[in-house]
Structures are given as C-alpha cells and as structure tokens.
C-alpha cells in the first residue's frame, strides 16, 4: 500500500501542473476590488489650475484608465478606447502616470483623445494607491465610488464585451 504513495502524489502534481499551463503567473488580481476607489486631488492635464477628484463622479458608472506617452501597450488599446468613448456607453477618465505634460498632450493630439478629463500623476503616488504596477490598467468604478473590476494590461474586445459592458449595464440599472 505504501508503495503507491509516490505515484499518487505524482498524479496530484501533474494535475496542478496541467492547470498551471492555463494560468498566467504574472497576472495580479487587485485587492482593491469591492473597495472604495482611493481618493485623490490631482491637477488636470488640459487645465493645470483645475483639479479633479473621483468623488465628483459619485452617481455615475465610469472607467479610470492609466496611461502614459512612453507606454507601448497603451497604443494597442487606444483605438478601442476611442471607439468606446464615441459610443458614449461609459465615460473614460484618464490618469496620466509618471509622464511629462507636453509629451502627454502631444500624444493625445497624435493618437486622439477618448478621455473626458485627464489628470496628471507625475510622481506616481496615486498610481501606487491604486496598486498600479504596469500601465495600461483600467478600473471600472460604480455609482457609489467602489471599484468593481480591474483590467491589467491593454483592454481587448473580448474582455470588453464579455466582462466590462455587462457589468456596466448591470451597475447602471
């Protein structure tokens, strides 16, 4: 009997390894899900004399998208964001992360601007509060200011259609 212990243990190991092949060890789920979005007051990119804070959007369902002009993957999701902004289903607000103001403005001019408002997080402190570790990252925030979903990496059509939009609809109703 005891001689079958090794093969049983090995069997369990293989099962886990098999499951592991489908997982991505680098994807980090956020501990902020179902918690209130951290507060901040940052100056706006377009008008630095004005500030913006997430509490201003209580009562709305909205997306917070972190991006930067130096971020290569941001370009991947940008057309999707533009299309989303045009459709008007959910407003997108931008957190310009550890970037240079003129570079950021230039980038928006070249690539298009899907954001209602952009704020400048030049030292990354707000990003740290949101647990940002690699742009782009996008947060879906509900009417009470609670984070309901976080996308790590560029948004893709599948995630948008299967996860984000249904969530937006249910939060809006």
């Amino acid at each position: 009997m005891k001689f079958t212990v090794p093969i049983i243990i090995f069997g369990v190991l293989v099962v886990f390894l098999g499951i592991g092949l489908r997982l991505d060890p680098r994807l980090l789920p956020s501990p902020l899900i179902d918690r209130t979005a951290p507060e901040f007051h940052l100056s706006q990119l377009d008008e630095p004399s004005r500030t913006f804070s997430p509490t201003e959007l209580r009562g709305q369902v909205w997306l917070l998208n972190t991006w930067a002009s130096w971020c290569v993957s941001c370009r991947q999701e940008h057309p999707l964001l533009l299309a989303l902004a045009r459709s008007g289903t959910v407003p997108i607000y931008g957190l310009n992360y550890k970037d240079n103001r003129s570079d950021a403005l230039q980038w928006l001019k070249n690539m298009g601007n899907p954001y209602v408002i952009n704020v400048q997080d030049s030292n990354g402190r707000v990003g740290m509060d949101y647990g940002v570790y690699g742009v782009p990252e996008t947060y879906l925030i509900d009417k009470t200011g609670v984070i309901r979903f976080k996308q790590i990496g560029p948004l893709n059509v599948e995630t948008l259609e299967k996860t984000v939009m249904p969530l937006v609809r249910s939060l809006n109703s």
Partner: protein, 655 residues
C-alpha cells in the same frame, strides 16, 4: 560546401529513428530472451550518439561561421560576438539548450554502453533501452516544437546578438556542467527502472549504479556552484542564491541525489533500503525532468526562464507523466517483492544514514512545495501568493540542522549496531569544541544566534572528521601510518573531503549572511566612503569598450589603513547589436573577503553616479566548499572497486 543546417536536421531525424529502435528492440529482447536483440543495444546506443553529436556540431558550426540563414543563429548571435560566446550561444536559447540536453544524454548513453562490458548483457540492454526511451522523447520534442535548424528567409545581414547577461565565461561552462549532472541522473534512473523491470535488484545493481550516480552528482555540484558564482558576479547586486524556481529546479535533484548516493552506500554494503534507494533514483531524475518542465513552460515566473510556448509545456508534461508515472507504477508493482537485506539496530550507521536521507528528502519536498505553492494556490482560485527566500531559508535551515548534526555522527558509527555511550564518548571533545567555538567566535564582531548555529555546525563537521581520521589511522598491528593511509580506500577520502566541503560552504554562507555590509549611495567625483574597514575613493568615469560593446568605466581607489591596496573599474556596458545595457561589477576576491563595487545610474544634472558597494566576508568559501565536494565526489567514483579491470574484483565475463 554541403548545407550544414540540413545535415544537422537530417542527423536529428536519423538519431530519432535509431533511438526509437534502441528504446524498443533491446527491451523486448530482454523480455523474450532474444540474444541478438539484446546485443543490439550497444551498437544502437553508439550510433545514436554519433548522429546526435553530428547534429550538435552542425549547430555549433552554424554559430561559429555566422550562418544567419538559421533562425536560431540570427536570434541569438551576432558577427561581432567573440568566438567563445558564439560557441556558447549554441546553447544560449531554448532550442539550443534542448539540443545540448539530448547531446549530453546521448553521451552518457554511449558511456554506459562502453563502460559496462562486465555486466550481464540483459541488464545493459534494459538500461540502454530506458535511456533510449528518454532520448526519443526529447528528440521528438525537438522535431515537433523546438527545432534549432529552422531557416530564416530572407537571410538577415546580421543577428540580434546573444543576451548580454550571457556573454560571459559562465555561459560557456555552467550549462554543460549542469546538464552533465542533471542528465547524468538518468543513468541511475535507468539502472533502477531496468532492475525493477527485470526484477533484479541485486548486489550488481547496487554496486554498479553507484559510480555513475556519484559522477552525475559531482557534475551537478559543479554546475550549481558555477551558476551561483556566475549570478554573483554578473547580476550586479552581489546575490548568489535567490531560491528562484529555476535555481530550485537544479537544487532539488541535488538534494535527492545526495540522499541517493548515501542510500546506495547502504544498499551496496548491506543490501538494505532497496525500495528506498530505487525510489530515490527515480525521484532524482524525475526532479531533473520536472525542472526542465518548470523552466520552459511558463508555469512559474523566474529571472532565468526561457521564452515560453504552451505547446512545449504540454508536450513536456505528457512526457513527464509517461516516464515518471510509468516508473512509479513499476515501483508500486515490484517494490512489494523486494528482499529486505541485512538487519540493523535502531542506532547504527544504517539508521543514521536512513535518518539523514529522510531529512534530505524532506528538504527536497519542502523546496518543491515552496516552489509549487504559488501555482497550487492560483489553481485552486485562492489568489496570488509569493514564496521567496524568507520561507525557504527558514524551512531549509530548520530541516538541515539536524541532518548536519547527524553528518558528523554517521562516519563514526559502526555498521549494524552502534553503542550510544561509545559514540558519545568518542565525540564528546568534538561536540565541546564545536559548541564553545560556535558560541564564542561571533563575539569577535557581533553575536547573532544564527551565526552561532552555522559556525557550530561547520566546526562540528570538521572536528568529527578529525575524530574519524584519527580512528582510521590508529595503527592496528605493525603497519606504519603511511601504509595505513595508503590502504584506506579512496572513497573514504572522497567522503571526508566532501563533508569538509559542506562545512566550508556552511561557514561561508553563515559569515557572509551575518556580516556583509552593503551601501547604495551616490558619489560625486572626489568623494569617498567607508565600508567594512576599507575606504573607497571615486575618481571619475571614462569611456571604454570591448569587441561588441561600449562602456562607461568608473575608477575607484581602495584604501586600507591609509594605504592604497587596489584600483577597481566597475562598468556600464551597452552592447552594439541589441542595445542592451548591462552592469559589469568590479570584484576583488580574497580568501577572507570580497569587495564588490557596481556602477549604477548617473545622477541627472550632476557629475555624481550611484554605486552599490559591498563588503562580503568569506563569500568565496561558499564555492570553495562546493569545489571540495566535487573533488570528494570524483575521488569516490574513481575508487578502485569501481574499476572492473581491477584484480581484486576477480570478475569473469557474465553469461
């Protein structure tokens, strides 16, 4: 000039066919007692080696001659790359390193076919058959997912260059040495599986798998030590072990392999522990295969991991399941009928070796658990978790401490039955010296409990070795000391040297971890700082260069007691072809300390640069100890009793 890559590809296909035959015919022949089929094993093994060697040499040739029509060469090499690194680039990628794996496996297979002429043909047939099966798996893997001879059209003018971290002598020696060990455990595995299959777990199996296992263990020890040393001087932050999954992937087979060589000692001498030894033989190579999977499948994150592809992961996993699952099933089936071997008392050399094995196995299991745990938690949908050095250090030290204590007692104890009072009496001075020295030495600098523990264990090993030597050489009869020294078998010296190597490594680890000093700081030209009793003066930077890189080199003068003792040149290199940036730390090695200076980033707007300066006492002892272990292993497997031609054995050709 024939198209070399095509020769390589063709050779691989032929090798696969030969290996397939090698994996089947001799095994069937052994089962059906067909002499011609049994005899075919040896030539098949040797032909497989010839074709694999041809393939490997073809790839090396492509690298050396800058044949960028081969995708692998274009991705990993460059015409400016110096010759030795072009050669090393052969195994600098996933595909190339798998080919190296197969080449080394074929080499061990051929070696087994040559150096086992004194063994029964049936046994050799099964062993070579099993090794052939493993070769088939890897050769098939190459053809299906990882062919190094894939062509690239249009042919680029030049290549991407070898990863800058790999452009180093470490790259030339570490992988081959590591694989010699890793893959070498396949011999012990094959011997065990062959013995299980033929129901022949006998004295011959125990005696003759031992030198092969010792050889593989010796290579693996070197390979791991080289990897650690390379990491130390190339990474730029002075670390030498991080319990990274890839490092663990090589350490687990080492732990299991260490348990195996000790278990084999008992099985050879006393016929005991057969089931346990077989299981360890299977486990050691299984852990090697598992390591291969972990490193290439993307299942775990690691600094060392190769670029991943799910297809590769699936293939290796299936192969693993067949090979390891198959051997463990065979084990479960046959182990019940194994004979028990000589009996032994609860306190005896056998029991001490057994308890050491249990502890080593527990250590290996813990490393495996810690490495796999993030994956297990993720797979169970319980979130993401990291398991890093703090975990491994705590658990490993806790488990190994009793093992190290027993290491001192084992060689002193008698076989079969040892008397506890007698043991205590013979070891009391060693115990006293170790404890007193271990407790008091740290006060010289700063007393910390773990340093005390480490030093106590280290001195314990050395003092018990002295006791063992004294007993061994006490002249019994009229023989002189010199004669006694000559008659003691070589593997005794090997054992003691290896154990002393362990002591040296433990001392090095203890002292460097306890007393190292590190500073991350900014220095302006003309500034200086004091670390570890040395003064470092920064004199400025200059431009420098190498064959395929440009560098910025800092000049640091080092003073001790007011006198300048050396000048160090840490560099930041930028490689032409890849644009990669790399730090090249300046290290001054000494017997009692290393001084380590790494150049960081320039501080914008000033002439200052950031530096990491470290004082690392006794760090080289870590690798010196490993060297002793390896020499000890070499002494052990070159012992006269493993030379089949030696007269003392009196072998006659087997039927």
């Amino acid at each position: 000039m024939p198209d070399v890559p095509s020769i390589g590809q063709l050779s691989l296909i032929i090798a696969l066919c030969v290996a397939a035959v090698q994996a089947s015919i001799p095994i069937v022949g052994a089962a059906r007692n067909r002499q011609s089929w049994i005899a075919a094993a040896v030539p098949l093994a040797q032909w497989q080696f010839i074709f694999v060697a041809l393939a490997f040499l073809s790839l090396a040739y492509c690298f050396v001659t800058n044949d960028f029509s081969v995708l692998n060469v274009a991705r990993n090499s460059n015409s400016e790359l110096p010759l030795n690194y072009r050669l090393a680039a052969t195994w600098g990628s996933h595909e190339g390193s798998i080919l190296l794996w197969v080449f080394i496996l074929a080499f061990w297979t051929a070696a087994v076919s040559v150096f086992t002429r004194h063994l029964e043909r049936v046994v050799v047939a099964r062993v070579l058959g099993v090794m052939g099966f493993i070769s088939v798996g890897f050769l098939l893997f190459i053809q299906i997912t990882s062919n190094p001879f894939t062509r690239l059209l249009p042919v680029p003018a030049d290549g991407n260059d070898l990863n800058s971290l790999l452009q180093d002598p470490g790259m030339v020696v570490h992988p081959p040495m590591l694989y010699m060990g890793y893959v070498g455990f396949s011999v012990a595995f094959a011997f065990a599986v062959a013995a299980l299959a033929g129901n022949r777990l006998d004295a011959a199996w125990a005696r003759w798998s031992r030198p092969w296992t010792l050889a593989a263990w010796t290579f693996l020890t070197c390979g791991i030590a080289l990897g650690s040393y390379w990491s130390y001087y190339v990474q730029g932050w002075g670390g030498w072990w991080f319990w990274d999954p890839v490092e663990n992937a090589s350490f687990m087979p080492w732990l299991a392999g260490t348990a195996l060589i000790h278990s084999l000692a008992v099985t050879e001498k006393r016929g005991a522990f057969k089931a346990w030894t077989v299981l360890l033989a299977i486990a050691s190579f299984s852990l090697s295969l598992l390591g291969t999977f972990l490193v290439r499948s993307g299942v775990l994150t690691s600094v060392h991991a190769f670029a991943t592809d799910p297809k590769r992961g699936i293939f290796i996993l299936c192969f693993l399941a067949i090979v390891i699952g198959g051997s463990l099933l065979l084990y479960a089936w046959r182990a019940r009928t194994m004979s028990a071997g000589a009996s032994f008392a609860p306190i005896s050399r056998e029991s001490l070796l057994l308890s050491n094995n249990v502890l080593l196995a527990a250590a290996a299991a813990s490393v495996l658990l810690g490495t796999m745990y993030p994956l297990i938690i993720d797979a169970l949908n319980l979130g993401k978790l990291s398991v890093g050095p703090p975990y491994f250090n705590s658990v490993f030290v806790a488990i190994m401490t009793p093992a190290i204590f027993l290491l001192g007692v084992g060689p002193i104890a008698r076989w079969k039955k040892a008397e506890l009072p007698e043991l205590a009496r013979r070891l009391r001075w060693a115990f006293a010296v170790s404890v007193i020295a271990g407790l008091s030495i740290p006060f010289v600098v700063e007393w910390k409990p773990l340093i005390s523990l480490g030093l106590t264990l280290s001195i314990w090993i050395v003092s018990t070795a002295i006791v063992s030597f004294a007993d061994k050489f006490k002249a019994a009869g009229a023989r002189s000391i010199l004669q006694r020294i000559r008659t003691v078998p070589r593997n005794y010296y090997g054992m003691q040297l290896a154990h002393i190597g362990v002591a040296v490594t433990i001392a090095g680890i203890t002292l460097v971890t306890g007393y190292e000093v590190q500073q991350d700081l900014r220095l302006n030209v003309g500034d200086s700082t004091e670390i570890g009793g040395y003064r470092f003066d920064f004199h400025g930077v200059a431009f420098a260069g190498g064959p395929n890189y440009d560098a910025i080199r800092a000049e640091i003068d080092v003073f001790q007691n007011g006198k300048q003792i050396l000048r160090m040149y840490p560099e930041r290199r930028t490689y032409h072809a890849s644009g990669n940036d790399m730090k090249s730390a300046a290290i001054d090695s000494g017997v009692f300390r290393d001084l380590f200076v790494a150049l960081g980033d320039p501080i914008e707007g000033t002439d200052a640069w950031s530096f990491r300066i470290q004082y690392k006492p006794f760090v080289d002892w870590i690798w010196a100890g490993a060297l002793f272990m390896a020499i000890g292993g070499a002494l052990a497997f070159s012992d006269r009793r493993y030379n089949p031609a030696a007269k003392s054995i009196g072998l006659r050709e087997a039927a």
